[in-house]
Amino acid sequence: MMVTDTDSSENVFNNNGGGINQVEEKTVSLFSINIRNFLSNHLAVFASIIVISAIVVSIFSPWFAPHDPNKTNLFLRLQPPAWMAGGDWHHPLGADHLGRDILSRIIYGTRVSITVGFSVIFIATGIGILTGLVAGYLKGKFDIVISTVVDILLGFPYLIFAIALMAAMGPGFQNIILALVYKEWVIPCRVVRGETLAIKEIEYVEAAQAVGASRFHIMLREILPNILSPVIVVATTRMATVIILESSLSFLGLGVQPPTASWGNMVADGREFMLEAWWVSTFSGIAILILVLSMNVASLGLRDAFDPRFSES
């Protein structure tokens, strides 16, 4: 993989001598993440820290959570958060209708969101890259078949498709991942296919062909590194959407089943008690909001870091 820490903020008037070579250099190393630029974007860095923290929390939930998320205690039923009357700091964010600590459930809920988010994106992007490369590079029959499938899948509104699938497959952790992957892979596929088609024309691919490299080799070594930047940017943006989708499905009860905590079903739980206990729904939703917002901001920063020229000054 070519990861060049090049200073891509070139000044139009840069005098490097030898004009033609300069142009070639720029187009070849399309995958060059400008780390310096990213780090100077304080907001994006802050957002990335939040995302990373979420990952850490999801892995080390037992260490972070003050209580067992599934431990019920009917004495504590619907206890308000600590700063309100009737609350105490043992349960900082209060307790739900079964007396379970909300804070701990939110912490454990991170597992569901993060795992589903990353799994879906990894798998979908993997499939997408494969199919996209094949469709874009090999064209012909492969392209027609793959593109038709993509178009059909795109024709379905996302949520409806997912719900229909879940209804057919039944709820559950693995099924959610599957259902979401089913629709999600078309997006990286489309991106990869487009980029592959564009890059195919550039000379160095022809050069490799002339030397006799196998098609597989070309796809892997020449094309792939250069389409990675848009793919990564798309993947990070989609992760945010996938997390919202997962929580929507969980909200409807199609996600992980009780008593496992997921942010979506926590909001659903609280809905019955909106009148007396607003905190049951509110805080889990805030967690979703924070994670998704951070992902969006971080991916925006990532996009700018890959190619500062395209950011808005």
């Binding site: 024709g155 379905f156 719900i163 929507s248 409807l252 809905r271 939703g285 909001l289 917002l293």
Partner: protein
């Protein structure tokens, strides 16, 4: 089969007849074609739950969904396009930054949660707006179009009209939020692109008034991608509809479908999915047409 019939007492013969009637004994391709054939003749089968033809049930609740969707679209457009223009024209200022931040938050919020928060805030705590439903029974009016906003005005009942509006506000805001946020971002980006163009410079070099340059020269071009996105987004609103309607107890097709899924009322779900897909494809088609109409370069 068993689940669908619920707790009615079923004899094996009944089951057999039902199977045959529903065509479940035929191979899958045949079932699919049968479905299409029946569908094209408007026959979607009967819904078990309601013991009425599925189509009837759906059509009955359609106006409610349409009313909600249209209102959400309208609000989203009215709010986000001017904000997007403002953000682009005053790039880098507080207007720009705050619009971008709001849009980002709007996109990152789960719709179902936002709706619940709104209910908690405005209905439960402040008692300004009703918690759910579409109207108060005592203020009903005869149904002409099925759209309460129109029917209440037709019947001359201002109090019913206000009641209908009050019920509409929260669901509309919730549904329109996601669409509005994206629309604002698209408008802003598109406007910024347009403002960089030479023809804007030339228009200024002509000494034209600023307002004319912004709205006639710039916006006219900037709206082209915006409108297409709006059309496509409307198709996607259909998915969001289901959850929002459920939360607000809105008697539309969305909440109907959600319940049908849980009740395993397959004929209804099938019919609904088909309708949704058709509308979605239709909206994309409309988006294409709009693009052609608005962009003189592409017109035939």
């Amino acid at each position: 089969m068993q689940i669908m019939l619920g707790d009615q007492h079923v004899t094996p013969e009944m089951e057999q007849t039902l199977r045959k009637d529903m065509g479940l004994d035929l191979p899958i391709q045949e079932r699919f074609f049968r479905f299409l054939y029946n569908a094209s003749r408007g026959n979607f089968g009967r819904s078990f739950f309601h013991r009425r033809p599925v189509m009837e049930v759906i059509l009955e609740r359609l106006p409610a969904t349409i009313e909600l969707t249209l209102c959400a679209m309208l609000i989203a457009i009215i709010v986000s396009i001017p904000l997007g223009v403002l953000a682009a024209v005053r790039k880098g200022t507080i207007y720009d930054r705050s619009s971008v931040v709001t849009a980002m938050v709007g996109v990152s919020m789960p719709g179902f949660w936002f709706g619940i928060i709104l209910i908690i805030l405005f209905s439960i705590n402040l008692h300004w707006l009703p918690v759910s439903g579409r109207s108060t029974f005592s203020l009903s009016v005869p149904s002409v179009t099925g759209m309460l906003l129109i029917d209440t005005l037709l019947a001359g009942r201002v109090d019913s009209f206000i009641d209908a509006v009050k019920h509409l506000i929260l669901p509309t805001i919730t549904l329109g939020m996601a669409m509005g946020a994206t629309l604002m971002q698209v408008t802003r980006a598109s406007m910024m692109e347009v403002l960089k163009q030479d023809y804007i410079l030339f228009a200024e070099a002509k000494g034209l008034k600023r307002r004319r340059v912004t709205f006639l020269h710039a916006l006219k071009n900037a709206l082209i991608p915006t409108v297409t996105v709006a059309a496509i987004q409307t198709g996607q609103l259909l998915g969001g509809n289901m959850i929002i309607e459920t939360i607000f107890g809105w008697p539309g097709v969305g909440s109907l479908v959600v319940r049908a899924i849980f009740n395993r009322n397959y004929p209804l779900v099938q019919a609904a999915v088909l309708i949704y897909v058709i509308i979605y494809v239709l909206m994309n088609f409309i988006a294409d047409i709009l693009y052609t109409v608005l962009n003189p370069k592409v017109r035939i």
